[in-house]
């Protein structure tokens, strides 16, 4: 009985939020947790820097990257339905063109839409003069 009463006291402390036991919920669609800058989310490819060498492709542990033609140049196409977000493609990119953004809102209705082609991945860096 004393043990249970001890437990009841702790839980009551939480109900009344006594002594630094606040509600911690982050109400997602309205507010967000602060994301770490190193977070590995959706990829982004620097349009100018990428040379389409395919090193990311060969180093990808489960070959979820393909090099495809986009316009006149070759760019990676990432199947994020398959990607394991290990960050190797970023590590190995010789041109430092591959990035990982903090975008994690990727849920979709079809499997095909999880293949992110260059049109969705490419970004253009603002050149500072």
């Amino acid at each position: 009985m004393p043990g249970i009463i001890k437990g009841l006291i702790v839980t009551l402390k939480h109900v009344l939020q006594i002594g630094d036991r606040p509600t911690v919920t982050v109400q997602y669609p309205y507010e967000r947790m602060k994301l770490a800058p190193r977070f590995r989310g959706l990829h982004a490819v620097d349009e100018d820097a990428c040379i389409g060498c395919g090193i990311c492709d060969t180093n990808c542990p489960n070959s979820s990257i393909k090099i495809v033609k986009h316009g006149t140049r070759w760019y990676p196409e990432v199947n994020i339905g398959m990607c394991m977000f290990c960050g190797y493609c970023v590590d190995v990119c010789p041109m430092n063109a591959m990035k990982m953004t903090g975008n994690y809102e990727l849920a979709d209705y079809t499997r095909e839409s999880l293949v992110y082609g260059p049109d969705k991945l490419l970004f253009k860096r603002e050149v500072k003069q």
Binding site: M1, G3, K6, V24, A36, R38, R40, M84, P94, N96
Partner: protein, 382 residues
């Protein structure tokens, strides 16, 4: 009175099998006559994949073995490669490795205790546990950009140095954690119902435990004070002051208490690591640790060559993971891919003893004893 035996299939989808384990129970009323375990519902062929990928590519797969505590998995695999190829590791990198591994030990024990209590019907503990786990995961995310599958420890060092503001946040976490563990203890430790459920359940003697190959807290709950961090100190553990926690009773309550004690010890270790961490580089400059010419991305301070060929040979390395002794056996034939990767997973070996422990007990006891084994199915089935 003649009664029929009842055959019950618990799992693979069952709320308290921690995933996809299946118990085949032969019951006499509520008493377990025979308990047979059926594994393999999460067998993903990691060992075969290890033979098909390069050394570097295998590393992310180790995260997914024991997904609650991935750092020790990472570390053990990397340590095997380092021993095989003779790579020197800078001191600061070792400090960071121990730091993350001990942090992960706390996380693992929180989840373990939480899910044990949830199986017993008290959902509050796991909620509180995950509240603190989330804080720890934020630290992990700051450090390596992922919450569970880190891919952080690399041969020759770690992927990146500690980010700015990590140590103050860690100190904050440690302080908070102290108060929270006291809360847990107050909630659970002396709860009479909990004691009734745990005391004298799933007893295994020290001799049997060693013979069954139990390791980790499960072994130390039987009064065997063996901890690989003490027996074969690796990394910087020989410099740290800590003790291996053990309890003599050998029942479920002892195993639970060992985990609580280990959380306190881990906090103690973390404080020492934070206080004595040297300022230095985090990646080795030895033969295999040098960054190649093509360029290093600006945010990534460490590098491991894409084409890595260790000398031919065999190595078996083991460490004290939170769940027990984790071992990696790697056979190399001198090519870019491992010839054979064998994982000695603590969960798999600890589970061996379960069916003997629960004979003659009841289903609720099976769940209590199983909860204190602390297994993860990804680690059992690989």
């Amino acid at each position: 009175m003649q009664t029929d035996e009842l055959l019950i299939n618990m799992g693979p989808v069952h709320p308290s099998t921690h995933g996809v384990l299946r118990f085949k129970l032969r019951m006499d009323g509520e008493i377990i006559k025979d308990c047979q375990l059926v594994l393999g519902y999460l067998h993903r062929g990691t060992e075969k994949l290890g033979e098909m990928k390069t050394y570097q590519q295998v590393l992310p797969y180790t995260d997914r073995l024991d997904y609650i505590s991935a750092f020790p998995n990472n570390y053990c695999y990397v340590k095997a490669i380092e021993e095989l190829a003779g790579i020197e590791v800078p001191l600061r990198a070792e400090y960071i490795r121990v730091l993350v591994m001990e942090l992960n030990r706390i996380v693992n024990h929180i989840v373990s205790i939480g899910s044990l209590l949830m199986d017993l019907g008290a959902a509050t503990m796991i909620m509180w546990g995950f509240r603190e786990r989330e804080k720890a995961l934020q630290l992990f995310e700051m450090l390596c950009g992922a919450r569970m599958t880190f891919n952080y420890i690399k041969p020759g060092g770690v992927r990146e140095d500690l980010p700015e503001g990590f140590i103050p946040k860690l100190n904050e976490f440690l302080e908070e954690m102290e108060m929270r563990i006291k809360d847990y203890e107050q909630l659970i430790n002396s709860n009479e119902i909990f004691l009734m459920r745990m005391n004298g359940i799933g007893v295994i003697s020290a001799k049997d435990a060693i013979n069954h190959g139990l390791t980790g807290p499960t072994l130390r709950g039987s009064g065997v004070n063996h901890d690989l961090r003490k027996l074969e100190p690796y990394s910087i553990y020989h410099d740290l002051d800590f003790k291996a926690c053990s309890r003599p009773e050998g029942d479920s309550y002892a195993r639970y208490m060992v985990r609580i004690d280990e959380m306190w010890e881990s906090l103690h270790i973390l404080r020492q690591v934070v206080d004595t961490m040297p300022e230095a580089k985090v990646i080795s400059t030895s033969k295999y640790g040098v960054a190649p010419m093509t360029g290093v991305p600006s945010t990534v301070s460490t590098y491991f060559p894409r084409i890595f060929t260790p000398p031919a040979g065999e190595v078996y390395t083991r460490i004290e993971a939170p769940k027990g002794e984790l071992g990696f056996y790697i056979a190399s034939d001198g090519s870019t891919k491992p010839y054979r990767v064998k994982i000695r997973s603590p969960s798999f070996c600890n589970l061996t003893a379960l069916s003997g422990m629960v004979k003659g007990l009841k289903i609720p006891d099976l769940i209590a004893a199983f909860g204190t084994m602390d297994i993860v199915l990804g680690d059992v089935d690989r």
